[in-house]
């Protein structure tokens, strides 16, 4: 049981980071990015191909994160302007359609050109015991990186002027404009940041299990479920929900079966919506 909980936390941290990327873009621009998992896959493939081309692992990871950020920037420059012209519900719906289309294109391309490829980063060395449970080094390194990234994000939002400006846009778009903040620029920045986050999730995930070209949609769906449970637009909600759902997922997989774990996650989301429609830490409108 302890082993399951620890594995659940490892997975949950990644869920949390994944959901953070989705929830930030939604909170800031009312845009639900369904191509989010594909951002992670693109990053993973860049890491894989540059490593095969002889780039050292760390450099390849750097290029992969850069590719994620670039994906975000391109999304902002090409697809978002048309979405951003709509308001409210129309914007959410259009963003769903357009980013889903983009996800199909990216997914289709990779399945066509590189159908069987996947990224696995091996972290050497034997297992390390935590609470008497031998944990794989890959899991521990992945969790440490994820925790550091989350800490960095929280620091950025609390302590920097730009981070506060981004939060202010989430709280009141018009108020932000009145103090001289350009919401459009903040959204561009956050798309780049979430692209890098998607890359980071791909890299850390690949230390635990292979990230294949087909992993995109499952990542998006997991992120979506975690976001709904945590509350749309809430970063701390995404982290808390990520860890809870990570533990539920691993326990469900080990006692019931892997094939049911996604359904159980969906069930958890459904129960949350019934009890608390705005999510665990979401804001009530």
């Amino acid at each position: 049981m302890t082993a399951n909980i620890l594995d659940g936390i490892v997975l949950g941290l990644q869920f949390g980071l994944l959901a953070t990327g989705l929830t930030l873009v939604y909170g800031l621009g009312g845009v639900l990015n369904l191509a989010y998992g594909q951002m992670a896959v693109v990053s993973a493939m860049v890491v894989l191909f540059t490593m095969e081309a002889g780039v050292p692992t760390l450099g390849a990871v750097g290029l992969g994160l850069l590719a994620g950020g670039l994906f975000g920037l391109l999304l902002d420059l090409t697809v978002l302007p048309s979405i951003y012209r709509r308001q409210g519900e129309a914007r959410v719906l259009l963003s769903l359609l357009v980013t889903l289309g983009l996800a199909f294109i990216v997914d289709g391309f990779f399945n066509w050109r590189f159908p069987l490829r996947g990224l696995s980063l091996r972290i050497g060395g034997g297992p390390i015991p935590i609470f008497g449970v031998p944990m794989r080094r890959g899991s521990l390194v992945a969790s440490a990186i994820t925790l550091a990234a989350m800490g960095g994000l929280l620091w950025f939002f609390r302590a920097t002027i730009t981070g506060r400006a981004i939060r202010s846009v989430m709280e009141d778009d018009e108020g932000a404009r009145l103090v001289g903040i350009d919401p459009r620029r903040m959204l561009r920045l956050i798309l780049i940041v979430t692209g890098v986050l998607a890359g980071l999730v791909a890299v850390t995930r690949s230390m635990v299990a292979p990230v294949t070209v087909r992993a995109g949609f499952e990542m998006t769906v997991s992120a979506l479920i975690v976001t709904v449970v945590g509350g749309l637009g809430s970063v701390s909600g995404a982290l808390v929900a990520g860890i809870i759902l990570g533990i539920i997922n691993i326990i469900a997989a080990s006692y019931i079966g892997t094939f049911l774990s996604l359904i159980i996650l969906l069930g958890a989301a459904a129960v949350t919506i019934l009890i608390r429609p705005s999510g665990l830490l979401g804001v009530r409108e």
Binding site: I161, R167, E171, G175, R177, L178, V179, G180, I181
Partner: protein, 232 residues
Amino acid sequence: MLEVRGLTAGYTGGDVVHGISFKVETGEAVMIIGSNGAGKTTVFRAVVGLLAPSAGEVLFEGASIVGMPAHRIARLGISFVPAERRLFPRMTVQENLSLGAYPDSPDSETIELVMDLFPRLAERRRQRAGTMSGGEQQMLAVGRALMARPRLLVLDEPTTGLAPKLAKEAYQALDVLRGRGLTVLVAEQQVPMAMALSDRGYVLENGAISKQGTSAELANVPDVKRAYLGIV
């Protein structure tokens, strides 16, 4: 400082204000009075860039600012305090104030000025803006606007939802700011207080300016007396 010429603006349903013109000179306090729905808010939203006017010209210190996005107009030196205040409710008083200075870091001199003006805010630095009373939120909204060290402060009905005593306090603070040479443009339904603050005023009726003059002149116009000052 600010000159508006032939401004026509409104929403998808049609124009609300029709070709109005007014100006605010440096160091002046100017009021725009009118009943609910006369178009005061629409005029202000068009001036500060939250609404694109369908016709007309807005000049700030001689340069046209029509069509400029709100965040750029704010950085030029026009701070707008909307009637709904538009604070950041889940952020602390301190965070709200420091965002007022965006993109710069808040300077201690301006913070001190705001805290002197509204001692209540100093007591509540760490409180979340959304949990404060209406009067305190109004103080914070004005304080946040001042953090940008504006050249022109524009206030839309600063006494909305305030008890008479708090409304009076709000106007006392504005009077202090005037004394320091700040240029102020205010829209009001609470005409007596705005009149005591302002040098000049405009009466807005059905989206057009029906009367204008110094505050003393307006106070003697029979229609204004009856409609806005409650004197028969």
